[in-house]
């Protein structure tokens, strides 16, 4: 019985009610932001300790703002709602998000939320890889205080984030990159209804001469216990003209920063090889979007 100890399903209308429920059930309370992750854990019998579910859909947190220096996405914005952001469909720097949003099936897109997919700290998801490549950070509130956490610090380990009990992600911020920038996301999957075996998101910014000023290369899927940035690949790219050779070199370098796993879906050797292939393809895709 997957949720056999569930005693309370609360739907708070303000943050105090969240605090009350957390105070009562402590670690055995779980925030429900969309439900797709919780459903996945439940059917595998991983929620046997959970006593309270806190459904936060009445707390707002669903703003979607194309600001001057950034794009801000409320935690309760569903993937389907995020697709409505006009800029997403034209801006090259946001293209990785567009790519990643196309991956989950419609049922997931209608239910899953941006805040929920980040709090899950699941490296097999698509959007967190893209958001980290865009240098995203989250605003977190709890116990009357607010703080900002970069995504690299939010993801601690598999299914483990750095939020304190009672803290909620309220918003994701993606800063506008300088100069000419573009991004891309690619996923290796068994079928269109699959978690990532490997996924890669890249974001690049170049100066007027085409020299790479900024590069972020992020890998997800079974390549570590969380989404991984490849500093080695980024170093290869920065300060260089993004030629075929430089991209090949960077793609080959990601292997130094990941620890591919073996499971029944893929061997470690295959994941390692595909991390390189998909990094190359993502970089080429981003490059093609620069102009």
């Amino acid at each position: 019985m997957a949720l056999s100890r569930l005693k309370k399903f609360c739907i708070p209308e303000n943050s105090h009610q969240v605090d009350d429920c957390v105070a009562e059930y402590g670690d055995n309370a779980l925030i429900l932001a969309g439900g797709t992750f919780i459903r996945g854990l439940e059917v595998r019998g991983l929620l046997s300790e959970v006593e309270a579910l806190i459904d936060v859909h009445k707390l707002g947190m669903d703003g979607l703002v194309s600001g001057v220096g950034n794009v801000r996405i409320g935690a309760m914005v569903t993937f389907a709602a995020l697709e409505q952001l006009a800029e997403l469909h034209s801006a090259a720097w946001l293209a990785a998000v567009r790519d990643a949003l196309a991956c989950p099936p419609l049922q997931i897109r209608n239910m899953a939320t941006v805040g929920g997919c980040l709090a899950a700290s699941c490296p097999f998801y698509d959007l967190p890889t893209a958001f980290l490549a865009l240098d995203g950070s989250v605003t977190v509130s709890g116990a009357g205080a607010q703080r900002e956490i970069g995504l690299a610090d939010l993801f601690v380990s598999l299914f483990e984030n750095s939020l304190e009990p009672g803290e909620l992600i309220t918003e994701l911020t993606l800063p506008r990159p300088p100069g000419r920038s573009a991004s891309a996301f690619i996923k290796l999957e068994g079928t269109a209804n699959d978690l990532a075996i490997v996924n890669v998101a890249v974001s690049i910014s170049v100066d007027a001469a085409g020299v790479c000023e900024e590069a972020r290369v992020v890998l997800g899927g079974g390549v570590g216990d969380r989404v991984v940035r490849s500093a080695t690949a980024e170093t290869v790219l920065k300060g260089q003209q993004l030629t075929h050779e430089v991209i090949e070199h960077a793609a080959a370098a990601v292997g130094q920063d990941i620890e591919p796993m073996a499971d029944h879906r893929a061997t470690a050797a295959y994941r390692l090889a595909m991390a390189g292939v998909f990094t190359k393809r993502a970089l080429n895709q981003a490059l093609s979007r620069l102009n």
Binding site: M1, G40, V43, L195
Partner: protein, 776 residues
């Protein structure tokens, strides 16, 4: 045969709307008053003996109404498969409803009925079981070695059966050969993945008679096996026919533990008991038998076969079940009959292991065989430079030939040549590039496979049921009700049968409706399997409709003062041939037949005629006279990403000589569904198990990958080559299973054409392709 009103039309399915709004007719939606919910406790060990079982705590739990253990269950060994007499000499009866010995991880050891499924499931954890673990073996090669764990007492080296046959002198045949090819081809354990779970509701009355609702492909098969395993007579078991079930594909051709256990729990509690499998339980209930086929073929210079030898190892798993039957169909209709050779020999081995039981799956042994045969033919043609289409025609039967399975049958409507020619033209076969000649990263290739001979039912197969029946009853509004024990397992069978009845009766589209019954009220029907529904059940329906029509015209003749032979009926109107002004509606004729003898009208009482009185109906129960084989060919184009090993199927063209298309939309659905299952079998599906515990690792759709709509090709073409099969209803023979037999080898051959990589084991995963290309 050209002026048909209903047959050949894209008639809308009668259940289409009901299904999209929730499908209340699915057995999973059956609820009875006072119903309890059952759950099964399953063994965590793949091989163990139960030393002690204590159910006291579970029985004391509030809401629990009954707990059943092996001690409470008749210990009558049975075989679960539906389509043969349960006492058949060809069946191994080695299963018990509950046993002290478990032979696969997940085998039930106890059952609980409670007022809710949640309570029943919680109570399972209160049952204490001490097991003595026994050594287990999962690999069929290891299972047959000396010293391997003994799974069933007395079955030496776990070899359940070693069937074989030979024609001619195989050694002499190979001596004649100019070229000899050999290879070993392996196929994995895959699940049908029907949408509706195995689910049943059993209700026992005060006389101990059982009524059961279940999601199955054969009403009478369940009745026979329930009665046998429970020690009852068949009239004590009534199986209620659901209007439709949510898919079967062969998986629902055997009794599952839940059915007799629900009946026993119901008998104990005197309340209806429902047991519904979880998806995990469905996955471990049965699956297609993994097979390893060694194939050796001798060829003369002219490209004809002179010797064909094959050896098959079939992992039938923890119980013999379907294994000894499936391997025979595999050998005859899968491996050997489709291609001529003067010398042939086959040897089979059915092996017991501690894996989950093997079951039936669309194609019944032929998908495994076709992958071996059609892959090797492609290898031969590639090596010796034969055109694969001409090569096949050189070695296959021709129209009018005697049937290789039974020479008394003739291949009157056989058209492999046309399947090959038309399929080749549509795919652009003549433009096919040489294997592996593309230099780009993403390489395209075209491949094909044929299955020269398949079945329309089971006439001629030893000990397999093959007869059908139907009841047709006309109503006063000019409609008719058709009842048949055929199960519509999602293919549109009921609609097709109603079309056949309407055409024969001369009624309009939609005027015949299917009315479910039960084993108490319906004539026997063999299961919905073996591609038999349209052909065999269709024949019975047509005969019943003809009987009803004969009576209809006799009654009309009395009323119209005409000779019945001079009457015809079309679109619900009866007319005197040649005198269209003399007509009467079917409704009016039935009204008169059903009316009281003396009808009081405005003019006062008016007597009618006694000869016209009575319900107009027709009955039938019969087996078909023969078993016409269809031929099929499939052509596919694939794109292989040689950096990632991923394969996309871009196009598929499927050609099949099915006699007559009764409903083109339903027929296309069969082709497309078969292709989807075939792509899964070819490229991704594979049930995996923990090598130590035997626990299934792929027991939901996150871990068990099957193609979604996105993986399907955008272009699928169904070519139906029509003829008039004299033994079939309106000329029809079969379609269903072949649609899944051919895709895997066609895809494998296309991958070879694209890349030059020959993969002889399914599924052809990206990793296998990269390894074959030397890139991993």
């Amino acid at each position: 045969m050209t002026n048909m009103n209903v047959v050949g039309k894209r008639v809308l399915r009668q259940d289409a709307f009901e299904k999209v709004v929730g499908g209340k007719g699915f057995p999973v939606n059956v609820r009875l008053p006072g119903m309890l919910h059952g759950k099964l406790l399953r063994s965590p060990y793949p091989h163990a003996r139960i030393v002690r079982m204590d159910t006291a705590r579970a029985e004391q739990m509030p809401g629990v109404k009954a707990v059943i253990t092996p001690a409470d269950v008749p210990q009558i060994p049975y075989n679960p498969i539906f389509f043969m007499p349960v006492t058949s000499a060809g069946l191994v009866r080695d299963m018990l409803i509950l046993s002290d010995t478990v032979r696969f991880a997940g085998q039930p050891v106890a059952a609980i009925a409670a007022i809710s499924a949640a309570i029943a499931e919680q109570a399972l954890q209160m049952i204490e079981v001490d097991y003595e673990e026994l050594p287990a073996v999962f690999d069929p090669d290891e299972a047959t070695r000396d010293g391997a764990p003994e799974i069933h007492a007395g079955v030496k080296n776990n070899i359940s059966d070693t069937p074989s046959f030979a024609i001619g002198d195989i050694e002499a045949g190979f001596r004649e050969a100019d070229h000899i090819f050999e290879g070993t081809y392996e196929t994995p354990r895959v699940h049908t993945c029907y949408m509706e779970p195995r689910v049943c509701v059993a209700d026992t009355d005060t006389n101990g008679h059982i009524t059961i609702y279940s999601s199955i492909q054969h009403l009478f098969g369940l009745r026979e096996r329930m009665a046998y395993a429970l020690g009852l007579s068949v009239s004590q078991v009534k199986v209620v026919q659901p209007p439709y079930i949510g898919g079967g594909f062969g998986s629902k051709l055997d009794m599952v533990y839940a059915e007799p256990l629900a009946a026993l729990l119901s008998a104990r509690t005197r309340r209806p008991v429902r047991i519904k499998h979880t998806r995990y339980e469905d996955f471990i209930t049965n699956a297609r038998h993994p097979m390893k086929v060694y194939l050796k073929t001798g060829i003369r210079k002219d490209g004809t076969f002179c010797a064909r030898y094959a050896r098959t190892q079939c992992d039938t798993s923890a119980y013999a079940s379907q294994g000894p039957v499936v391997i025979m169909v595999h050998a005859h209709y899968g491996l050997m009959l489709g291609y001529r050779s003067p010398h042939l020999k086959w040897e089979g081995k059915v092996v017991l292991t501690n894996n989950i039981p093997g079951g039936a799956f669309r194609g019944y042994g032929a998908p495994q065989a076709c992958f071996a045969v059609e892959s090797q033919i492609d290898e031969i043609c590639e090596e010796l430079g034969f055109d694969p289409i001409e090569f096949r025609l050189k070695n296959t039967p021709r129209r009018g030939d005697p049937h290789p399975f039974n020479p008394e049958w003739k291949l009157d409507t056989y058209a492999l040549d046309e399947c090959l020619a038309r399929g080749a033209e549509r795919i652009g076969w003549s433009q096919r590039a040489r294997a592996g000649s593309s230099s780009s990263t993403k390489k395209r290739g075209i491949g094909m496979a044929a299955h020269p001979l398949w079945v329309s039912g089971c006439v001629g197969f030893p000990d397999i049921y093959e007869h059908s029946g139907a009841i047709i009853k006309l109503n006063v509004d000019g409609t008719a009700n058709l009842s048949s024990a055929t199960m519509d397992i999602g293919s549109g069978q009921n609609t097709v049968l109603c079309q056949i009845a309407a055409e024969e009766l001369g009624l309009a589209d939609g005027a015949v409706l299917m009315s479910p019954g039960s084993t108490d009220t319906l004539p026997f029907d063999a299961p919905t399997h073996a591609s038999r529904g349209t052909y065999s059940s269709g024949n019975a329906v047509k005969v019943a409709a003809a009987a009803a029509k004969k009576r209809l015209l006799e009654v009309a003749a009395v009323i119209m003062e005409a000779n019945a032979d001079d009457l015809e009926v079309c679109n619900g109107v009866i007319t005197v041939k040649g005198s269209p002004a003399r007509s009467m509606s079917v409704a009016d004729v039935v009204k008169r037949a059903e009316s009281p003898y003396m009808v009081i009208g405005e003019q006062g009482p008016a007597p009618t005629v006694l000869e016209e009185k009575g319900t107009i109906m027709g009955l039938s129960s019969l087996a078909p006279s023969t078993n016409p084989s269809p031929a099929v060919a499939e052509f596919v184009e694939v794109e292989v990403d040689t950096e990632t090993g991923q394969v996309k199927v871009l196009r598929a063209v499927y050609a099949h000589d099915l006699g007559r298309v009764i409903n083109p939309a339903a027929a296309e659905g069969q082709v497309e569904g078969g292709l989807q299952q075939g792509i899964g079998f070819a490229l991704m599906e594979n049930m995996l198990f923990d090598p130590e515990s035997g626990a299934c690792l792929t027991s939901d759709f996150l871990d068990y990958k099957m193609p979604t709509a996105v993986e399907m090709p955008r272009h699928i073409e169904s070519i139906f080559i029509e003829s008039n099969e004299p033994s079939g209803p309106f000329g029809a023979k079969s379609l269903a299973e072949a649609c899944l037999i051919v895709p895997a080898p066609a895809i494998a051959n296309a991958i070879y054409n694209a890349t030059g990589a020959r993969i002889r084991s399914l599924p052809i995963t990206p990793e296998k392709i990269l390894k074959a290309l030397g890139k991993l």
